[in-house]
C-alpha cells in the first residue's frame, strides 16, 4: 500500500470508525486525547495485520478497529490502576517514552538511511527488487548485502545503547 492509499484508508477509518471509539472511551470516562491515542494504536495494529499475512475480515473494518480499541482501552485502564501513585520523578520515564523509543531516537539521528531501508523491507514488506530501485542499488544482490550490513549496524547500536537503558536489554 502506498502513502496515498494509506491516507485514503486512514481518512475513511477516521470518518467511519473513530466516532464509535470516541463515544465508547468518553462513556468510560476517558479524554479526547486518550481516544485519539487508543484509536491510532488500533489503526496501526489493523494496518499491520492487513499488510502482513493478509486479513480475512468476518466483520467490517470499522467493527474490527473498534474491537482492537476496546481491548487497548481495557489494557490502558488496567495499566493506569497499577501505576504507583508516588513514582520517583528523577527515575520516571517521560510520558509516552520507553527505553526502546529513546534508542530509536538516537538511531534516527545517526542511522536514518539504514532505518529507512530496513523499514521498506521488513515493515512495508517491499521485495528486494523494489528496495533496490527505491534506494538506488545496482541490483537485488547489492541491496540484500546492504540490508544485512544495516541490520548489523542497528543491532550493534541497540546493544551498545541498551547498556544505558537497561530495561530494554530484557
Amino acid at each position: 500500500m502506498d502513502a496515498k492509499e494509506r491516507e485514503e484508508l486512514f481518512t475513511s477509518l477516521y470518518l467511519d470508525a473513530y466516532p464509535g471509539v470516541a463515544r465508547y472511551i468518553a462513556r468510560q470516562g476517558g479524554s479526547m486525547e486518550e481516544a485519539k491515542d487508543i484509536f491510532q494504536d488500533a489503526v496501526v495494529i489493523y494496518y499491520e495485520r492487513l499488510s502482513g499475512k493478509g486479513l480475512e475480515l468476518k466483520q467490517t473494518k470499522e467493527a474490527y478497529v473498534f474491537g482492537i480499541a476496546r481491548h487497548l482501552w481495557s489494557k490502558h485502564t488496567n495499566n493506569k490502576r497499577k501505576e504507583l501513585p508516588a513514582q520517583d520523578s528523577a527515575t520516571a520515564a517521560a510520558p509516552g517514552t520507553t527505553p526502546a523509543m529513546n534508542i530509536l531516537r538516537m538511531i534516527e539521528n545517526t542511522g536514518r538511511k539504514c532505518l529507512d531501508l530496513l523499514h521498506a523491507f521488513y515493515y512495508e514488506q517491499k521485495n528486494m527488487k523494489e528496495v533496490a530501485e527505491t534506494f538506488g542499488f545496482s541490483g537485488e544482490r547489492s541491496a540484500t548485502v546492504q540490508k544485512y550490513k544495516c541490520l548489523e549496524k542497528i543491532r550493534d547500536v541497540v546493544k551498545e545503547k541498551a547498556l544505558v537503558y537497561e530495561d530494554f536489554a530484557g
Partner: protein, 78 residues
C-alpha cells in the same frame, strides 16, 4: 558476503523460517540482539504510521470541511 553478515542471514532464517541455528557460545546473545534490532525497526514503522495518522487527524480536526464531524465528537466528551 563477509562472515558476520552470513551469520545475520542464518539467524534471520532461523527467526523467520525456523531453520536450524548453528551451535556457538554467543549465539543466544546474537539472536537476542538481532530480535531487538527488528523491534526497533517495527517501532520506527509504527512511528511513521502515527505521523501519517496525525496528518489525517489534523486535516479533519483543524480544517473547515469536517466541522459537523468535529462537533459530533466534541459532544461525546461534554
Amino acid at each position: 558476503m563477509r562472515t558476520s553478515l552470513v551469520e545475520i542471514q542464518v539467524i534471520e532464517a532461523h527467526l523467520m523460517a525456523g531453520k536450524p541455528l548453528p551451535a556457538g557460545e554467543d549465539m543466544a546473545d546474537k539472536l537476542h540482539w538481532q530480535q531487538q534490532a527488528y523491534e526497533v525497526v517495527q517501532l520506527y514503522g509504527r512511528k511513521q504510521l502515527k505521523a501519517e495518522l496525525d496528518t489525517v487527524h489534523d486535516k479533519i480536526f483543524a480544517g473547515s470541511a469536517f466541522w459537523r464531524f468535529r462537533r459530533r465528537i466534541a459532544r461525546y466528551f461534554h
